[in-house]
Symmetry: C2
Subunit: 236 residues, 2 copies
């Protein structure tokens, strides 16, 4: 057997172990009534800025917390802690994604039933995080206006494993000549029916092509998702 | 032995095979007198725009060609072909980096001694490409002003395996409140003495903090590197 074939086989075993842990995490999250949202994107798409603003605003009337993954630094945890929410950093070393086991370990000592929302910011990468379930309720993939409109076509797997597409830095759209229509079409081509929110960590609410954009529509989506998740849990 | 340990071992064997092929490629490139430059960056940092402009301008008085890696599409090859240079796309599927074997296969049928410059655009990723030698003469890591200044600290390995740092979208620096000084310091912290070029695919030449920036200083660096490489080859 050549090394490449063995690599794939060993990797499948690692993924299977990950799924077992993720399933158990999901059960615990649902039982505790905490909505868990993971964020994935390329480096510099604005995950940490969006999350800091989300924690600050959502934290005014909800119990929020965050885990944040990075290869080498604790910078993101420091930036997020400015929001006042509890934050823990997961330093992954050379690993380009978070795994369910890392999430499980990082959560030790936290009472899940004392949280309404838990955010998990993945390592900045549009490839590696795709295959790893973290037990989240839903996954948001971020795409910044400064990256260009073609990213959904070039990284279809990560868009296919995500539930919501978040277009960030919407305030810079015209400066960087972002083709909004092309971006929306590319998202729908890769994942028809995918929900899209357009945000900017600097803008509360605006209107684009008849649609509300900014941080507020994003927060409304989160609150709505949590209400839906709680209703489903009660109905069980 | 647990699967993670085995994963690391099998991966090391794959890397070793890659190094053997990369070494042979490097020998061929040097013998043919072609300077081979690889470009790595996160998705959307502007590799393809910089490369298209580079091929167009450098191609006026040099023989240039490019290989371009992407997970799923041939968009980049189409964009690059607008420059008039020969371009081949390498579609990697789910693999988040190029490997020496892929480069070797993609080069079949091309006469290396008929080229002056060969560019290899890697998959957009700041993690996976770091470990794979492609036989290039030097590796340029791109960092766009829209990504933020902290990327060298967060992705130290890729900066450490690269020879030149290229700050792209320099024309947008003030709009996105890019802290140039912090970025330069972070690059030097990770890799002291690293050469830095600031470019924009839209600007031929400008001046920032007493330093020339734009596409022309980048082209001058390439021409200078090729002259140096040829001189070393002759002196052998």
């Amino acid at each position: 057997m050549n090394p490449q074939t063995r690599l794939v086989e060993v990797r499948q075993k690692v993924l299977k172990q990950n799924d077992v842990i993720a399933r158990e995490l999901r059960r615990q999250f649902q039982e505790a009534g905490v909505l868990v949202i993971s964020l994935v994107s390329s480096p510099g798409a604005g995950k940490t800025s969006l999350l800091r603003e989300t924690l600050r605003r959502l934290g005014e009337s909800n119990r929020v917390a965050a885990l944040v993954g990075d290869l080498a630094t604790e910078n993101d945890a420091r930036r997020l802690a400015e929001s006042g929410a509890p934050v823990r950093q997961i330093v992954t070393g050379t690993v380009c994604h978070l795994e369910a086991e890392m999430v499980k370990t990082a959560l030790q000592g936290w009472r899940l039933d004392e949280l309404d929302f838990l955010f998990i910011e993945n390592v900045g990468n549009l490839v590696c995080p795709a295959s790893y379930d973290l037990g989240e309720d839903f996954r948001a993939v971020l795409l910044s206006t400064t990256e260009g409109e073609d990213k959904p076509l070039k990284y279809p797997t990560i868009f296919n494993t995500a539930d919501v597409a978040v277009i960030t830095k919407a305030d810079l759209a015209s400066v960087v000549e972002f083709d909004r229509q092309a971006a929306l079409e590319n998202i729908q081509r890769v994942r028809p029916g995918m929900r899209v929110v357009e945000v900017s960590a600097k803008t509360a609410r605006g209107t684009k092509g008849g649609t509300a954009w900014g941080i507020e529509p994003w927060l409304e989506l989160l609150v709505e998702r949590r209400a839906g998740a709680l209703a489903r849990e009660v109905a069980k």
